[in-house]
């Protein structure tokens, strides 16, 4: 760590200015709007009102937030479990690793909507998966997958897995092999080496991945709209509808700010908690 304040500010200034202009200022405007009076159809009357917050604090939205956190959490857990070994494999693929990394990203350059349509084709009651299972004699009646929480998990994992794989890859890739060899020389078995050496050293990558997967997954709305047939009330849909169906900017802003505060606080807690057990205190 270096203490050179001038150099630090100089290097940071472009990034900070960009974020101030296009993030902090707009978010401040949204924060102000959340305290104004709603006149309907996106109308904003600059008179102080806390009505939006009264609405936002209803049990209805608490339930929606809870549901969203739950499904996003499950999806994130699945992403860690699926993504870690996969990233490990790519990071050890020698000179093929950049090519493999590219292969991971290519599907995501295709439009999300039509990729989700593919999942609808695969998962619906008369879809490919059910047909295959019936032909193989594994099941006799089609299993309902679409419009169930299972479909939400599949959709979220499919949509966000690369955001787990990339940061984990970036930290496994630089793992110093000599540590692992040292551990083995000292007689640790591979499993022990993995949990005592590899995992702790690559934990910053896992953490980044969790943040980048979990957080966007909480507020996503396209995936849940298409794959649940609109049957679950997710907070992402509530926020989108507040802006784009009800045109109630105050309510949309208020709920968003509350959600953001909730998620940011959980990130801070997560960081504090993990930095105690890890050397990665430089994180936050």
């Amino acid at each position: 760590m270096v203490r050179n304040i001038k150099a630090a500010y100089l290097m940071l200034s472009p990034t900070i200015i960009w974020l101030l202009a296009f993030l902090v200022v707009p978010v401040a405007m949204i924060a102000i709007i959340s305290f104004t009076t709603n006149t309907g159809f996106g109308g904003i009357l600059y008179e102080f009102s806390t009505e939006a917050y009264t609405l936002a604090f209803s049990s209805l939205y608490a339930q929606a937030i809870w549901q969203s956190l739950w499904w996003a959490g499950l999806a994130t857990l699945s992403c860690v479990l699926i993504g870690y070994p996969f990233a490990y494999f790519i990071a050890h693929a020698g000179k093929w690793k950049n090519l493999l990394l590219l292969l991971v990203m290519i599907p995501f350059w295709t439009n999300l909507l039509i990729r989700l349509y593919s999942w609808i084709i695969l998962m619906n009651n008369q879809g490919a998966i059910n047909n295959l299972l019936i032909k193989l004699g594994i099941i006799s009646e089609p299993i309902t997958m679409l419009y169930t929480p299972f479909a939400v998990i599949i959709g979220l994992v499919y949509g966000f897995l690369p955001f787990m794989i990339l940061p984990i890859y970036a930290s496994i890739e630089q793992l110093n092999q000599s540590y692992l060899e040292a551990a083995e020389d000292l007689g640790a078995n591979p499993v022990r080496t993995f949990f005592r050496v590899t995992l702790p050293l690559t934990f910053p990558g896992v953490l980044s991945g969790i943040v980048m997967t979990f957080v966007p997954a909480v507020s996503v709305f396209v995936v849940t709209d298409l794959l649940t047939g609109g049957r679950l009330l997710m907070i992402g849909n509530v926020i989108k509808d507040a802006f784009l169906v009800e045109m109630n900017w105050q309510l949309g802003s208020a709920i968003s700010l509350l959600l953001m505060a909730l998620v940011l606080i959980s990130i801070v807690i997560l960081m504090k908690f993990t930095s105690k057990n890890n050397e990665t205190s430089s994180f936050m």
Binding site: M1, T15, W18, V27, I30, I33, L103, F108, M260
Partner: protein, 264 residues
């Protein structure tokens, strides 16, 4: 890695790749579907390819998306590298507050940033065009780049850099000769992420784009009310095949180089 572990991991990774690619195969197959409805198979046709080549809207939108994604990737990668390096290396007043700001774009729902930026542009009397999409996309992408890089930096060995400096290399030299190569896999991962985020983002893009500069995701999303045209499947099929073609050439050359190396 033990051979057996390697084998299990290989099979596992092939399965994950299948998870990624089976939906792509399905959507490519449906580019030949007679039905206009994206999810029911009714018969074989080339119609959508013919229509696609006559549809200047889709082609323009694709070009627009690529322009925005490339600009976004370049800006956000540069901003992200600078940000991550400073946050990792320096201790200065306001460091915590600043790293907090970097988390906001990850946390903020896209629609909120979208309408907020729209109001900002309105308040500043800015007429929207294609490039007005870039600021919003950069805000999102930069955070993701920084998060990836911080994870990379957290595990990076600083000894090499210090050695370079001890040997008399200046900051600039040290960065390009030592830090950058060490950081590169992280930068690549971050840039890929930035490109991917921008290329398929439609909420911010819709609200911050001007007349005549639709991006592809915006166009596709607006088709939802009537059903997304299989022309989009046809377009995606062509793009995917092109990319796979280039990737295969690279792969094939690497393979050949491998074999030659083996002979020597």
């Amino acid at each position: 890695m033990r051979p057996r572990t390697r084998k299990i991991l290989l099979i596992y990774s092939v399965l994950v790749f299948m998870f990624f690619y089976i939906p792509l195969v399905v959507l490519m197959a449906f580019s030949f579907n007679d039905s206009k409805l994206g999810t029911v198979w009714t018969g074989f046709t080339f119609e959508w390819y013919v229509k696609l080549f006559n549809n200047s809207q889709i082609i323009e939108a694709t070009v627009n998306s690529l322009i925005v994604a490339v600009i976004t990737t370049i800006i956000s990668t540069v901003l992200g590298v600078l940000g991550a390096l400073v946050l990792h290396r320096y201790i200065f007043p306001g460091r915590k507050a600043i790293s907090f700001i970097f988390y906001i774009p990850v946390v903020i729902p896209e629609i909120v940033l979208a309408v907020a930026l729209l109001s900002l542009y309105g308040a500043m009397n800015i007429q929207l065009g294609l490039l007005t999409i870039v600021p919003g996309h950069v805000v999102f992408a930069t955070s993701f780049v920084i998060l990836v890089l911080l994870a990379r930096l957290a595990g990076m060995d600083n000894a090499l850099e210090e050695a370079a400096k001890d040997l008399g290399a200046n900051e600039w030299h040290t960065f390009w000769k030592v830090t950058f190569p060490l950081l590169f896999p992280g930068i690549l991962a971050g840039a890929l992420m930035a490109f991917t985020i921008s290329l398929d983002e439609f909420v911010v893009a819709f609200f911050t784009t001007g007349p005549g500069s639709n991006t592809l995701p915006v166009l596709v999303y607006s088709m939802v009310r009537r059903g997304v045209s299989p022309e989009i499947n046809a377009l995606s099929t062509i793009l995917i095949l092109l990319i796979i073609f280039f990737v295969s050439i690279v792969g094939w050359r690497m393979m050949r180089a491998d074999r030659k190396g083996g002979e020597v």
